[in-house]
């Protein structure tokens, strides 16, 4: 059993602990749970980063093998913010993609299969490495965005249910509801997902990746379009994310669907599935 495998297993265990603790805390409030979850998420990130480094050293250092790729993506998807402010249920949902990535890397370590990711081999060594690393970063941030969308979606559903409950209570009591001007901002109530920094960072990085690939294609091959499957999927994810960004002024369920689809496509492309 290699040290990399031990770290993957440990990270998977800590992630399961996070989910368990978060669910327990959301059911029966535990004092100090948000801070414990925050510390556990940082711990998992560090374990996954160490595991990625070890797995990278154990493999071919010239390219990014599937296991370090998966662990790096999981680390990016796990990392919490600087302050422990998110709710417990939110923490549990946010680490779900990271848990999936960790489990895949564990399975892959036990039984290797073809999981190559974006090769970028056609660009030459230096550019190849840069494109490969950037794609993995994009995939990790995509997985992180997926987790955040999921947690925000659940938060939105529960808040909508609460609002509907209070509204029906008021209606039953035949009391007139007087809305104040302060809560009339439609963006705060209609939107299941408000684009956050993770989504914006992913979109910015994806934009830079696509443009770099396009410029390299133009410089090396003289063409805008080489038609590779991975390149096409990345452009597809970028177009979907652009569409979601364009309609961000009037957020709706559509934006949630688009960001989820684009993040999923990006993560799968980075995994080479």
């Amino acid at each position: 059993m290699t040290p990399g495998l031990i770290l993957i297993g440990t990270a998977g265990g800590v992630l399961l602990t996070i989910i368990g603790l978060a669910l327990w805390d959301s059911w029966r409030h535990i004092p100090g749970a948000p801070r414990a979850l925050w510390i556990l998420r940082w711990t998992t990130t560090i374990i996954l980063l160490m595991g990625a480094l070890l797995a990278w050293q154990e493999g071919d250092s010239q390219s990014l093998n599937p296991v370090p790729r998966l662990m790096l993506m999981a680390a990016l998807a796990t990392g919490p913010g600087l302050h422990p402010h998110s709710s417990s249920l939110s923490s549990a949902l946010q680490v779900l993609p990271a848990l999936a990535l960790t489990e895949i890397s564990l399975l892959w370590s036990a039984q290797p299969s073809d999981l190559s990711g974006v090769s970028g081999a056609e660009f030459g060594n230096g550019i190849h490495s840069a494109i490969e690393w950037t794609t993995v970063l994009c995939g990790g941030l995509g997985a992180r965005t997926l987790g955040q969308v999921l947690s925000q979606l659940v938060a939105w559903i529960s808040s909508t249910e609460r609002e509907l409950g209070s509204w029906s209570d008021e209606e039953e009591g035949e009391s007139e509801s007087v809305s104040t001007e302060q809560d009339s901002d439609p963006r705060e109530n209609d939107s299941p997902v408000v684009p956050d920094s993770s989504s914006t960072t992913t979109y910015a990085l994806l934009t830079l990746l696509i443009s770099a690939m396009t410029l390299v294609n133009l410089w090396q091959r003289g063409t805008l379009w080489t038609g590779t499957t991975d390149g096409t999927r990345l452009v597809g994810a970028w177009l979907i994310w652009s569409a979601a960004w364009l309609i961000s002024r009037s957020p709706s369920w559509l934006q949630t669907v688009l960001i989820t689809g684009a993040a999923l496509l990006l993560t799968l492309t980075a995994l080479g599935i």
Binding site: L208, G222, T223, T229
Partner: protein
């Protein structure tokens, strides 16, 4: 009057065409087309397609889709990126980008002065207007036309959205120029150290002796796809007299032949009644040492009986002797190239750069416009107040 304005069909068309929703719908349709192309087997793009590649594609398509293959082909599912539908979408996108650009320029001009907000007002409790305006003025341009005050990031926040639109238009213009006047030649086999004219053009390519880099006419881009093994063949009799070699029955006899071994090749030495078959051993791992050849199977036959008289695998410059005849096979590097003439290259590159600068700029510095007015209470509308102004609003500053 308002009703008449709303019913004006041209205004409605303009509003739809310049709406972000319309642009988003177009982008989604293009994305769907591209993703469909990654899922369905696409026909080889060369015109005409290489027979082997076309046969392989047809076999894959028929295995996956059976009888539906011909219908799907007729509907353009197997050449999505060259289909009329996708081209139509790109034309619509170009038109939409142009309209967005025109409207963006108009807004840039209009927003130099205070504009009237169209949204509802909300009141700010326990604050004074000078405090909020003071907080906003650090990072915003503040315009005042009492009782209305406007804070925004003009001109940069209005200028930056124009860059992706201009970039997108330049990119599409570059793609159009390439489509109309550009060309691409795939699979050119060129010998190391040899100057070659690109078919049907007056452009040339010269490979260096190792066939690893190429010089070429200005204005084209040459990409070395892969290295190809090759040999230079020449033969002598026992007196040292050169023997003529032939590639085919009708071809002229030559004292030496240069042969690219992209596939099995045959040559003959008519005076010695020998013919030789050269087969590259493609399954072997390529030897990175420049002095060695890729393994080549050499089979020599005596004619007329067609009897195999010698067979060997060579991996370096070799002299093979058959009776009084000595055949020399020396390694000769070749490369397979793709040559591209792209008249829209600079437009495309400039478009990509503008697109990226504009998009990243918009993400860092989004368009934000806040209006404030003071009546009985301070009221605001437009975008939410930034955190600093919110703290002021709460009386903390």
């Amino acid at each position: 009057m308002i009703d008449q304005t709303e019913r004006d069909p041209w205004r409605m068309v303009w509003q739809i065409a310049t709406s972000n929703q319309w642009m988003a719908a177009l982008l989604l349709c293009i994305a769907a087309g591209l993703l469909l192309a990654t899922w369905l087997p696409q026909m080889p793009t060369s015109d005409p397609p290489p027979p082997a590649a076309y046969a392989q594609w047809l076999s894959d398509a028929q295995a996956r889709f059976g009888n539906a293959t011909s219908t799907m082909q007729a509907l353009g599912f197997f050449h999505v990126t060259r289909s009329l539908g996708l081209r139509l979408l790109l034309i619509l996108l170009a038109a939409t980008l142009l309209l967005h650009l025109i409207e963006g320029i108009d807004q840039l001009w209009q927003h130099r002065t205070v504009t009237q907000p169209a949204t509802e007002w909300r009141s700010l409790a326990a604050t004074s207007l000078p405090n909020v305006l003071g907080a906003l003025s650090h990072r915003h341009r503040v315009l005042s036309a009492p009782p209305l005050h406007q804070a925004d990031h003009w001109p940069w926040a209005d200028l930056l959205p124009l860059l992706p639109q201009t970039g997108g238009l330049l990119l599409l213009l570059g793609a159009l120029l390439t489509h109309l006047w550009g060309w691409q030649v795939d699979g050119l086999i060129v010998q190391g150290g040899e100057r070659t004219l690109i078919p049907n053009t007056n452009r040339w390519i010269v490979l260096d002796k190792t066939a690893r880099s190429a010089a070429h006419s200005p204005g084209i881009v040459v990409f070395i796809t892969d290295q190809v093994p090759g040999v230079r063949a020449y033969a002598y009799d026992e007196t040292g007299k050169p023997l003529a070699l032939q590639r085919a029955a009708g071809s002229p006899p030559l004292p030496q032949l240069a042969i690219a071994l992209t596939e099995e090749q045959v040559l003959a030495i008519p005076e010695a009644q020998l013919y030789i078959r050269l087969t590259p051993q493609t399954e072997s791992i390529r030897n990175p040492t420049a002095d060695l050849l890729d393994p080549i199977l050499v089979q020599m036959y005596q004619s007329p009986p067609g009897r195999l008289i010698q067979q060997t695998v060579i991996e370096e410059d070799t002299e093979l002797a058959v009776g009084d005849v000595k055949l020399h096979l020396d390694g000769l590097p070749y490369a397979r190239l793709t040559a591209v003439f792209n008249p829209g290259l600079w437009f495309t590159a400039a478009g990509v750069v503008l697109l990226v600068v504009g998009l990243v700029g918009c993400l860092i510095w989004p368009t934000r416009r806040i209006w404030l007015r003071e009546g009985e209470q301070v009221e605001t509308t437009g975008d939410p107040l930034p955190p600093l102004a919110q703290r002021t609003e709460n009386g903390e500053a």
